[in-house]
Structure formats: structure tokens, C-alpha cells
Amino acid sequence: MSPETARNPPESEVTGLNFKETELTLGLPGESRTQAEIVSKNSKRGFSETVDLNLGSSSSSETRGRSQVEEQGESEAPCAGKPPASKAQVVGWPPVRSFRKNALKSCTYVKVAVDGAPYLRKVDLETYSSYQQLLSALENMFTCFTIRNVLNERKLMDPVNGTEYVPTYEDKDGDWMLVGDVPWKMFVASCKRIRLMKSSEAVGLAPGTPAQSASAS
């Protein structure tokens, strides 16, 4: 990895190998010649830039690496070595056997009970990707409610009689939890059933300070 090699890509007389090919650059693996040439052309500019390129200092190489991905995204990818334009699923990757695919794919339908409603509903948590979506869906299901964000706690309100409902859920351990504390995915994995509890009954469940999970959307 000496800068010398990078600066003067020699051609080996014996093997006819162009050492440009073996040059250690931050070009993405398996990319076409033209991309590699772009990178190595830059390497002829000067020692310091070469060092940046080859020894991988963070910022310049990072942006270079990224822009290469975007550039390549458009062009037709050869059989190997190019990152796909979009993160499409690759056959047989990651290398897990198919019986492991279904690890977490147990039923994600959960019952939703509303205090005072004559019957329950079921929702498939997998169809939502955030708390906001779930609550909107619940709002639609029990059409009398609107979502009201009170002090960052999510509550549903029945505008007709002014009753507030707090969404709670039962987790895998059998405990009743307030909806919204944990990251969305963790919630989906641990939620067994949902209950919209009347606010008046929710004493002790609602946290003293507002729920702050920034990542949960």
C-alpha cells in the first residue's frame, strides 16, 4: 500500500499485468474499467490526494464512494460486482436456509378492544410501519375517534362524548404497556393484543414525563 505504487502504476514486463488493476483504491469492487480509470486518473494528481484516496481518509473517499454508487446506479450492471441501483433483494442472500426465513413471521394479527364497544376488531400490525399509521387505522376503524396528541402522548378522543382513550397493549410477558414507548419494530414483535383504555382508567400507566422515543415515528 505504498504511495509510490499508487503514484506510478507500472506495467509488469513479465506478466503483462497492468498494476492499475491491482491498485488499492476505494473504487467499489468489480466496477467497470472506466470507473477504475477515473479513480486512478485522480491518483496521478499528487501525493496528498493519492494518500487520501488509497489510505482511505474519511470524508473525500466517502463522498467519492457514494457518488460512484449513484453513477453506476443508472448504467447496466454487468454480471457481478456492481451494487444494484436500488437495494433489490438478491437471490440466496443473506445465506440463511429457508426454514429460518419464518423466524419472526408468526401471526401479526392482533385483537383490538375498545372499552365500551360491543365487539373487537383485528388488525395486522405488519401492514403498518409506524405508530402514526396504526393510530390512523384505529381511528378509521372506530370512526368516532380522532387522534389527539396531548403532551406527546398519543391518545384517541371520542369527539361525541369527549372521552379520551389511551392505546395500551399486552406484551409477550403478559404485561399491559402504553403504546409508543419502544421502537415500532420492537412493538410489532412483542404486541399480543391492543386495548383502547378509557383515560380515566389509565391512571398509573401513563408516564409522568412524555414519551420521548424519537425513533418511533
Partner: protein, 584 residues
Amino acid sequence: MDSKRRKDSPEEEKKRQVLPFPDEILECVLGFVKSHKDRSSVSLVCKDWYTAERWSRTHVFIGNCYSVSPEILVRRFPNIRSVTLKGKPRFSDFNLVPPNWGADIHAWLVVFASAYPFLEELRLKRMTVTDESLEFLAKSFPNFKALSLVSCDGFSTDGFKVIATHCKNLTELDISENGIDDAGGSWLSCFPDNFTSLEVLNFASLNSKVNFDALERLVVRCKSLKVLKVNKNVTLEQLQRLLVQSPQLTELGTGSFSQELTLEQYSDLENAFSNCKTLHTLSGLSEATSLNLHLICPACTNLTFLNLSDAALQGAELAKLLPNCPLIRRLWVMDTVEDKGLEAVGFSCPLLEELRVYPAEPFELDAILGGVTELGFVAVSRGCPKLHYVLYFCRRMTNAAVATVVKNCPDFTHFRLCIMNPWEPDYLTKEPVDEAFGAVVKTCPKLQRLAVSGLLTDLTFEYIGKYAKNLETLSVAFAGSSDRGMQYVLGGCPKLRKLEIRDCPFGNAALLTGLERYESMRSLWMSACHVTMNGCRQLAREMPRLNVEVIKEDGSDENHADKVYVYRSVAGPRRDAPPFVLTL
């Protein structure tokens, strides 16, 4: 008793008398030599030893079913009782090999039926086995004892009906990880009432309900049962009834662990697990709730292998469980335990030798949350200096972390790191992860198996070629910059036996560099690389003792060799190749 040889001529007999001890004694002594490598060495000493070895061998292991033919096998070894056969290339586990590729057991069974009528054991991996073959097996070998099918296909549970009915001396039925048609669980009822010899029963990977009454009666009457692994359809309540009947179990695979139990049921189960004093392996536990997880604690005192890869535990649950298992040597978990869970492993498992962390959501492309990272890896290495086998699926890794891990655990023999997004660089520095694997091969001289991933240039392979002198198996995906990468490996790793490559920029030059190597290897797999048909043809031309096969995909470029499988063989080209496999 072994069958007798024909009489030797008088001259040969005289020659023989010069030997320090007669052949019968040599054969007897060699009977104690079990390892295949040792037996191979023995057979190379001289003709007499070769002869003695072949007469005394009772177990044969064939790593590639196409490397030899059944006829050649039975001609050399007349007294085989146990056969282990592996078929398809390993990447077939990940759907890279089209169906009906081959590796059908039937032709072997036909030859065995006449040459080895006293065959007792058959262990198959990645082979195709039809129900007809299972029936043929059950009816052709009266002494048949042990059947093990791992990652096989082509059969249904109907095939087990015949096995259960006809194999009167069956001791082992081990079905794992197969893609099969589950035609229901009535096969368990086919074991006759006077059948009591079963010692190993593993049907954990089957999906259908089984007849529980039949299962219970089977467990009751098979007093020698040591290994019992049931499937998810067996409830906790049912498990309790089985455990009560079989406290002598050494390996247990539970069914579903999510049932809501009454106090009484819970207490009964606690007692049942307390009675399992000899358990050393535990698996299953699917959908285990925290509450139910505690049931296993009394059975964990002597546990050496805990397989939690079907139980999506959280870190805290694992942390509570592990202190009950002080003797753990092998631990398999799902990445739902996250780094916190792995920290607990570092604290609680000082004897740990093997760790596997499987991804709960492997195909979740944009997963940011969840899973394990480089931190968990380092945490384990700090607390588990004896760690020598790791399989680690993660979404981020750093060069520094891996260097730390191998510094803490220099005895790695198997290092399989899978950074799940292809071409993923070092998470902190954004550099390639060349130095990570460089550290592995430089620090771990005993390394036998390596799987690489992440953003890798040819430098990784230069390191591997230079330092990994004991490497036998190498798996590469989405890595390397040029032919040089593969050339470094082929030029450098003297003990390499299996090389499997996918989606790398290695072409004909790289393929042909290995001309001299492939005959000393079991096989080479290259898919979605830059190899062409002409390159393969050239390889086939120059190395006639290799089988060079190309699997052609529909609609691919005529000249491109989509999937290449090269292996040494004394049996010549395959006679059963399907139309999409071209033998060059």
C-alpha cells in the same frame, strides 16, 4: 463376521510369511482406526496395508457423491455397514441450484442392496431421496438401524411410514432442515407395538401435526431413547407427558413454548424438567414467553449445547437464563437478543467455544434497528477466551472490532462473518473491511473455515493466501476487485479443499490459475462471476480428471458461464445430468 478372501497362491503366501505379523492381526488393529484421514494414510503405506484397510473398513464418508460411483465404492470396500454421502453444492441451501439437479440416492441404494445387504446406517446431506427410495431402503436392508437426512429433498412423510413399518431394528431417525412435502403426521403410528429400539428421534423440522398418542406410546416403550426433538405442533402440556416418560434424555428439542399454562401445569412442567438430570443439549423453544422460558432452568445445569435459534429471545431474557447454564460450550441465538444479550453471554459463559447468531429478519433490506453489531461481538470475545467457532450475522462491523475479537480469541478454527448488506464498508471509517479478515488470518493459525463479507478488495485475498495456511473451506460473496483476488487464494492456501464464490469479479484468468489445484480440492463453485464458457471449456480440456459443469440459466448470455461447478472425480462425467447442466 467379515467375508473371507480367496486363497492366495503359494508364492504369495511365502512372501507373506516374511511379514512380522499376519494380515488378520493387521486388519484387527486397523479396525481401531476410525478417522477417515488416518485410514486414507494407512491405505497409502503399501499394498498389503491398502488391502488390510479396505477389508477392515466399516464406515465410508463420501464428501461429493459424484466423485466416485457406487460400483467403484463397493469394489474397494466389501464390508461397509455405514455410509455418509453428501450431494449438492452447499449453495443449494440458498436456492442457487435449480431443482432436479441430481444427487439422487436411488442408484446407490440399488448397488448397496446387493453389495451391502447388512447395511446399518445411512447419513445423507443435500441429496434427493424419494419415497420410493425410502421404501426400497426399508425393504432391502433387514439390519437397518440409522437414517439421517439433513437438508435433503424429494420425499414426504409418507416415506417414513414404510421405514417405521419395516425397520425392526431402527435406532435412529433424524430428519433436519429439509424441504419436503409434509403429508401429515400419521407415520408415527406405523411403528409396531413391539418396536422398542429407538434411541434417536428428530422430527423438529416437520410442519404437520403428529399423532400425539402414537408419539407418547412410542416414547413410553422405547426405554433407550436418548435424543428426542419434536416439532412445533407438540404443546407444552404434551411435552410434559413425554418428559415424564423419558427422564434419561440427553438431547431434547421442545415443541412450541408459548402455551398459556395453569399454575398446576406450570408446576408439573417444572418438576418434569427437574428430572432431566442428564440433558446436555436443548433446542426448540419456539415462541417462548419469558414466563415459560424459566421452566427449563432446572434442566440447564449440565447443558453444554443450547440452541435458541428458533426462540426470538430479547437480551434481558437471555441474560436471566444464562447464569443457569454455567457449562455452556455451544450457544446458538437469534439476533433479537441484540448486543445486550451478547454482553450477557460474555459474562455468563466462560467455557463458550461456539457461538452462532442468526438473523431474525434476514431479508429486511432497510433494517436499522435491532440485530447485533460489532459491540456484541467484542463483548463475547472478552468473556469467552475459548471461543473458536463463530457464525455471526450482522448489519455493521468495523475492522477494529474484529481485530480485537481475534486478539481475545486467537484459537479460531471457524470464522464465518456475514455482514448482511453486500459491499458494506467499515461502519466507522467507511473503509473496506480488508483489515478485519487480515487480522483473522494473521492472528489465528488454526483457521480451517472462513466466510468473508462486506466491502472487500483484493487485499483481503492477498492476506488469506499469505497467512491462512490451514484453511480448508473458503466462502466468498460480493468481494474482490479483480482476478488477482482469487489468484492469491489459489496460489497460497495449500490445504484448501472447498472454494465457493458468488457475485465476484473473477474471470477466466482466475479460474485457470487453479488448474493445478483443483485435483487436490473437493470442489469449486463460482456463480455470477466473470467466467465464460470458453474459459470453462479450456479448463475441461486441460484437466480431464475434473468434471467441469456449467448450470445454464434461461435467458442468459450464451457465452457467459452462469454457475460453474468443478470437482475431481474418478467416476468420469455424470450420467444423470439434467438438460440445464452442461458437462464440458
